[in-house]
Subunit: 241 residues, 2 copies
DNA sequence: CAGTGGTCTAGACCACTGC
DNA sequence: CAGTGGTCTAGACCACTGA
């Protein structure tokens, strides 16, 4: 462990923090195997049970997966389906066509106040802005504005436009930025002229507004996204304990 | 354990299932202490570590709480604040007045199809219906319809109307039904005449529709509730891992 | 087959709670 | 102070994976 001085925290806790930190710093990358229990036990001179407790804790935090007989692996969060969680589709049951994305514009601008605030940047920092329209069964479903710090994501401006664009893998391969989790805030608005044009809605009808802040393993903001969709398409289910 | 025959499941798993079942059958009631680790270890002739693993699992499921030096206790879920999770308030920051509830009507009727479906009852079963209006700072915020199986909840019809009515404690004391968890589905609608009257809204403006199914520890449906509120008051935050 | 994680045991010591 | 849960150890055996 990096700091053997702070003896007040339990060993299993220090070990899991150490590993979480390695993951945050991309020393251990998604999909990679982490050292085996025996290896960690020997390296840090702690009992196997203590190692197991640390790893179990990381499983609980969603950072790793354990596969018996194979090893323990850094988990790659799957946000591809998050879109689907919120929006209900009307297409026939057998229809499994992927939603399609079309990028409407890509540019770099001085960040509006709310964007720099959301991304924890200095006011006036330049940011990349993407506008994107997501469709299902040929019908527009979500219009998105996506904001990124320009200094880290300039490559996004010049990348060729591929078709089934999932952005997070692109951030990873092009910019070395790995999205670990996201915070979404859902509110309700009414359709304006832009929604009427992009989503084919009637002005004044309910719109669902989804604001998402994507964060790295180290909790640094990576991307801020604001999506608008027809309220009638929205459905969300929560479990309360 | 009740069935020592099924040896294929791990001991810690059988033990936690046994305890979960005791909780489901109200043999162990919310707030009560469960047997100590040592007690369970002796009674079931298993090692302490195995007992601990079983109890840790129950903590993860949200069924118990453990308090060092004191004991392990059946958890009482707190839904009183769920209302607050969805609705943002505008009152001054220092204002901590509790939201108020007023019951508009109480009666028993043949359950509408969607109600009996939600409660997993035979079509045509009689149900209790409550209408309730929840206000904050004197302004109506949520209008609710609450549905209960009449045969189990007839007492709700005749109870005196107390003021700070939290229903779930009433279900427990009057009917012996304990709510363990709930499933909520959020959709968006537009205001109708009823919303205009009860919530002071303009017809056609966005409404948030929250449907909640409350369940016991044994996953049997207890109550189905449908709440409507002004869309402009709605805000919900989710964390995605 | 060797190597991995999963289960289970037995026991020592610590930290906290409540009387 | 006695009793509780929390930490940690050391070691045995099992179940599964993949070459």
């Amino acid at each position: 462990m990096s700091d053997d001085l702070d003896d007040r925290r339990p060993i299993h806790r220090r070990l899991s923090d150490q590993l979480a930190s390695d993951i945050a710093q991309n020393k251990l990358r998604p999909g990679e195997a982490i050292p085996t229990e025996a290896e960690l036990s020997a390296r840090y001179k702690v009992a196997l049970g203590t190692v197991r407790k640390a790893l179990d804790h990381l499983v609980g935090k969603g950072l790793i997966e354990r596969i018996q007989g194979s090893g323990s692996f850094v988990r790659r969060p799957d946000f591809g389906t998050a879109f689907v969680r919120f929006i209900r589709y009307f297409g026939s049951a057998g229809d499994r066509r992927m939603p399609k994305s079309r990028i409407l514009s890509r540019d770099a601008v001085v960040g509006p106040r709310e964007v720099t605030d959301a991304l924890h940047l200095e006011g006036g920092t330049r940011v990349v802005r993407l506008r994107r329209l997501r469709s299902h069964d040929g019908l527009p479903v979500l219009s998105e504005e996506i904001w990124l710090e320009e200094s880290r994501f300039a490559a996004v401006l010049t990348m060729p436009e591929m078709e089934p664009q999932l952005l997070y893998p692109i951030y990873e391969s092009l910019c070395g930025e790995i999205v670990a989790r996201a915070e979404e805030t859902i509110t309700i608005d009414v359709a304006d002229e832009g929604d009427a044009e992009l989503l084919g809605m009637v002005v004044g009808r309910p719109v669902v507004l989804i604001e998402r802040l994507a964060l790295g393993y180290d909790d640094r903001p990576i991307e801020w996204r604001r999506s608008r969709g027809a309220g009638s398409d929205f459905r969300y289910k929560v479990d309360i304990r």
